[in-house]
């Protein structure tokens, strides 16, 4: 099920025999894959095939019906916090507070992630995603794409090794998508790894891209 080209780095994330059912429908079972530093694994498949569920099973948000997720060789059943410390998750829900400004949202999100980031770094990150002038506006006054850009700024400042991304390009314009690819490329070049569910073709110049097809 997994493509052959590998980067030769040790596997940081290993998934063994994972299975999940929703009601009576079996979404997937006996799924094995691993992701090493510098690799991007794209999960593909038609709508409703379980891409989001697979991502949520890997993060630990959803409990899989069978199988195990190993982070640096240790099962997340025994130590989930170690994996959470090294993982940034970007799902369908933005995790933004409408009443807080872009800057405050970024500050709280990063504090929750346990990252120490200076005010200047936050401003720079917001400037890089094009929200420099709007950083004091409450998030409710931003467009869907601009809200996604706050998420991009968060990813760029998050020290996490693993990015788990569910449809990362949704609502982003061409410039935003290019920006995301740039961030992803930098992340992979640093030795980070990423797991993404997407219908788009992600092709960061550095790093190894593999595909996992569901359904």
């Amino acid at each position: 099920m997994t493509a052959p080209h590998r980067s030769g780095q040790p596997d940081v994330l290993q998934v063994r025999g994972i299975a999940c059912r929703r009601g009576v429908a079996l979404l997937f079972s006996g799924l094995d894959f691993e992701v090493a530093g510098g690799e991007l694994l794209c999960v593909r498949g038609p709508n409703g095939c379980g891409k989001t569920t697979l991502l949520r099973c890997v993060t630990g948000l959803t409990r899989p019906d069978d199988g195990a997720v190993l982070w640096k060789g240790v099962s997340t059943r025994t130590d989930a916090l170690a994996m959470h410390a090294g993982m940034a998750f970007s799902g369908h829900l933005p995790g933004l507070k409408d009443d807080l400004s872009a800057e405050e949202n970024l500050e709280f999100a990063l504090r929750l992630r346990g990252a120490t980031v200076s005010v200047e770094q936050r401003r720079e990150a917001l400037a890089a995603v094009g929200l420099e002038k709007r950083r004091r506006l409450p998030a409710r006054r931003l467009s869907a794409g601009q809200r996604r850009r706050i998420g991009l700024a968060r990813l760029s400042l998050d020290p996490a090794e693993l990015w788990v991304l569910d449809e990362p390009l949704t609502a982003l314009d061409d410039a935003g998508q290019a920006l995301f690819i740039e961030f992803l490329d930098r992340h992979l070049a640093r030795g980070g790894l990423a797991l993404a569910a997407t219908h788009h073709r992600l092709a960061p110049p550095s790093g190894v891209v593999r595909e996992l097809r569901l359904g």
Binding site: F89, L93, L112
Partner: protein, 214 residues
Amino acid sequence: MSRDLQLAWRHPDEAVLTVAFFALVASLFPLGIGAEPQLLARIGPGVIWVGALLAAFLALPGLFAADYADGSLEQMTLSPHPALGWASGKIAAHWIVSGLPLTVLSPLIGLQYGLTPDTLAVEAASLLVGTPVLSLLGGACAALALGARGGGMLLALLALPLFVPILIFGAGAAEAQATGLSPAPHLSLLGAGLIASAVGLPWAVGAAVRIAVD
């Protein structure tokens, strides 16, 4: 926690509503019942406690629901901090916004019922110990009711019966003081309730939230 407080500060209407509701309910009773000093002094502590309980309940549905809807709860569950920490923080923020102002306001309300200074002090003390228990119990119920259809009704059915013992001991403390008995047993029981719930309930909140985001 600091984020919740900042949100409450940015949108004070909800917190103000809680306090205004408490003040209104407690002030309407003397008007409705009439100026009969003995009767008012007799029912005062109980009415104030019922008002505080309902006001604390009023702020409960929003405690986790907004974070659940916008994905903040997912991010909290996936944060490298243990659930105990952020669950306690959210409950503490709820108390600072609802329980603490009610406690501070209670002596003023008590004056309308002609309560003696000792009784006022005991009433405030019982609220100081009792309202955090309300926040803890209510927080656990709010987390359990997350994602359920008709969550508000479910929350009332879950939380209000659990609030009853706190109400009995809380109002009992001030009443004992007013009738010349020692309020100590009531306050000790409330204190014991606070310790037990502070130890156990944040953990339960974390577990309930994890089930809700699944």
